[in-house]
Symmetry: C2
Subunit: 211 residues, 2 copies
DNA sequence: GGCATATCGATATGCTTTTATCGATATATC
DNA sequence: GATATATCGATAAAAGCATATCGATATGCC
């Protein structure tokens, strides 16, 4: 079942799950209603959900609790991914202390930084921040396979290489630069400039229309 | 020329621009080389660039300075968008103080928060953080049309409504919830859970393959 | 100056994703 | 219990996007 989920569908699944969790009061919910709430078409919702669940019943819709369970299983929220974070700057510490990741199956086990003043227990998150030379050992001992990069752009590639060297198979990159890794390693660039391009483009067209 | 840029292309343009800015030493660059650096195909690069530039010449490639200029114009970096940010928590302040946005044509003019202890000048960014009842007036006086939401999920929709009421036409939402607005308002959800779904899915398949 | 070659740009093919159509089925009402 | 209807699920068409192919063109070398 897991094989045939398309990339686009996969990215919408957490959105459905979030909506259902907020809305867990009702017993049943129809694809039509989900679509309305999220601004999608009901056909797309049905197709997405069909990929992970068969909790839908004619005339009633989907059984909410079953659908939530199916989504959580499909997304692997039952056993959370461990991750390390490199770069304890403002963004890095904001992510370290973001409690919401637990709800999405992510567990950041520790932070790393080159700056000695950052080392020790982070006040806000309560998580430990270590020197870079501890990275490899910790990743291997705890079998961490995911790295989060929140360092300045110029050192992002170097940090990426270190993470890969320490056994990471997936990298979540918040540095505003493109980084590379061998083919079997997944790089997910969280590119704010791309989002901004969409927004800015819309704004200009929207304001032009008026004039 | 601006009409026919596809959404996917639009999101890749800032990536090209970033690469070129880093690499501004050389006079010319070929689509092939850009593709190699970014892990794309040269055909896609050419097609993307063709949408915004004709700085390409056979045998030489693209004139870097011209291409940068074309990209900046297409992305509207010549006149930056002003924006307001609502929610001066850790993520909000991290974004407020992120200097890199200037390079992407974004200028956050001020922050807003309900908590009186956040009001005043933010130490790190030097930007002012105001009470929510100042929002409408400031947006209108400065003709701000873009709002950034970094508040907890439960109040995100309410903040969105206020921003729209104050004249915003585009919303950049970092709250981990889906928000709605009238059709002509663009909502860009920066959904970390979606990214995480991709990463987690890759990890599981990758680790399964070995076993 | 002519020729080989790197590179572009345009047209065509194929794949992925979305949207449309239609029949199937369980529930509720009479 | 029969019938109407809300809703699902599957198959089919359309759109959007990526990849392949091929001719055109400017550059540099002989």
């Amino acid at each position: 079942m897991l094989e045939k989920i398309s990339l686009q569908t996969l990215q919408r699944l957490p959105v459905y799950l979030e909506l259902l969790r907020q809305d867990a009061a009702s017993d049943n919910i129809s694809a039509n209603r989900i679509a309305e709430e999220l601004g999608l078409t009901e056909i797309q919702v049905r197709k997405d959900l069909a990929a992970v669940s068969d909790a839908g019943r004619p005339k009633k819709g989907f059984v909410v609790t079953d659908l939530i369970a199916d989504l959580e299983r499909a997304l692997g929220y039952d056993n959370a991914d461990d991750a390390v974070l490199v770069g304890a700057g403002r963004l890095g510490r904001a992510l370290l202390s973001y409690a919401g990741f637990q709800r999405y199956g992510l567990n950041i086990v520790a932070g790393f930084d080159t700056n000695p003043r950052a080392w020790g227990q982070d006040e806000v998150s309560g998580k430990m921040i270590y020197a870079m030379d501890k990275l490899d050992d910790l990743c291997r001992r705890l079998s961490v396979h995911m790295g989060i990069i929140t360092v300045p752009a110029p050192v992002a590639q170097c940090v990426c290489d270190e993470l890969v060297g320490a056994g990471c198979r997936a990298i979540w990159n918040f540095a505003p630069t493109h980084i590379r890794a061998p083919g079997n390693i997944l790089i997910k660039n969280e590119n704010m400039a791309s989002s901004l391009a969409l927004i800015s483009h819309h704004l200009r067209r929207n304001l032009e229309e008026e004039a």
